[in-house]
Symmetry: C2
Subunit: 206 residues, 2 copies
DNA sequence: GAACTGTCGCGACGCGTGTCGCGTTAAGAT
DNA sequence: ATCTTAACGCGACACGCGTCGCGACAGTTC
């Protein structure tokens, strides 16, 4: 079921094993923050964690395995979507959060994306995390419908709306490597809301 | 000026040098198509090109250098944006082209993105290529204004509109790794056009 | 607390990658 | 046609990555 190779041995989860895991995962985050995804190496993690290389190889197999464990750990922290009182405000706040995570150097989010190209398990873990986040954000659309900001008779596809609102951020900052634009979060949110109001995300074709 | 390390030696660009370059670049494309970006290795390229490893290292330095040369070569082929008679049709056609390039296995475009995370020169070359393509597509918006599909008094920011129309494709297929959705190109194009008609991409704030 | 066994530390090994120096070949100049 | 030298072929080398087998340690159970 899980992609995690052997990161949490169920046979003996006690003191030392758990301590080694915590040391290694902390080392991964520290190495990621210090050297970026480029400098994330098995040997560096092992050395920083004060653990032998073979141990890291045995339990996590490769860099992707380390990322999977870190991603899953990140997915367990409870995250709440913004609630500003309006759909446009919510999407703007969400975009600002996304922009912040993509612009900070080094960016943990960018490191995950880069690693996902090299490890299928890491890619699946990342997809799981983002799918959960988008699902959690669907309540933004529901609240907007309740407030009357969106028409109720044309049911809006929440996922499409959310992706339309957030995709330009990733596209500009990650793929096009553009400079940070302080107005982009608000503009992308506004465009998505206007499209939604025009029925762009209702199931009925034009 | 150019990021290309030493791919085109200006001292002696004649017969053998040019032939080696052509062999190596062909080998890069073939290896990319056969093994994906994962299996693109200097030794594999050298072997397939019938050239010694040291030659490849000397002229292209690393895998990123090879990609830079291939990307620049791809930018020299003349590409024309679609012209279907309507903005929505143009954007839909553009999105279908993008989707095709991202879905085909192995995907040359995805390989470039993955490589761009590991080589700054390759990333710059890719950014140059995409910036050119988006600039070429601005004519789609100009034609739409001429046809009266978009209001002329509120000047539409062509780049923002194009990114809003195409970003969901990359987001779904590359980052979220969703399955191919035959209706996504048309839907993303429609949403962008509706947002543009509502003035979402004009310079004036809300 | 004593036996059992999962987990870790340790060192050695194979392998692929990247570099270097030298001799050879061939492109460009006279 | 001959010379100069840029570019390539070749083999050897160093280095880091990943694996393996063994012994030691510590968590679990009785």
């Amino acid at each position: 079921m899980t992609d995690t190779p052997d990161a949490t041995p169920d046979r003996r989860p006690g003191g030392r094993t758990a301590r080694v895991r915590a040391q290694v995962l902390d080392a991964v985050r520290a190495e990621l923050a210090e050297h970026g995804h480029e400098g994330l190496t098995m040997e560096g993690v092992a050395t920083r964690a004060g653990v032998h290389r073979a141990t890291v190889y045995r339990r996590w197999r490769d860099v992707g395995g380390l990322l999977v464990d870190v991603i899953d750990a990140a997915g367990e922290i409870d995250w709440q979507p913004p609630d500003t009182g309006s759909l446009r405000g919510d999407l703007t706040a969400l975009n600002q959060e996304i922009q912040q995570s993509l612009v900070e150097r080094p960016s943990f989010a960018v490191a995950l994306m880069a690693a996902s190209f090299h490890s299928a398990p890491a890619a699946r873990a990342q997809t799981r995390l983002w799918t959960d986040r988008y699902a959690q954000c669907e309540i933004l659309v529901e609240r907007a419908v309740e407030r009357g900001e969106l028409p109720a008779q044309h049911p809006t596809d929440a996922r499409s709306l959310l992706i339309a609102a957030t995709a330009p951020l990733y596209h500009e900052l990650v793929l096009l490597r553009a400079e940070r634009d302080p107005r982009l979060p608000e503009r992308a949110a506004r465009a998505a809301v206007l499209a939604a109001a025009a029925g762009a995300f209702s199931d009925a074709g034009s």
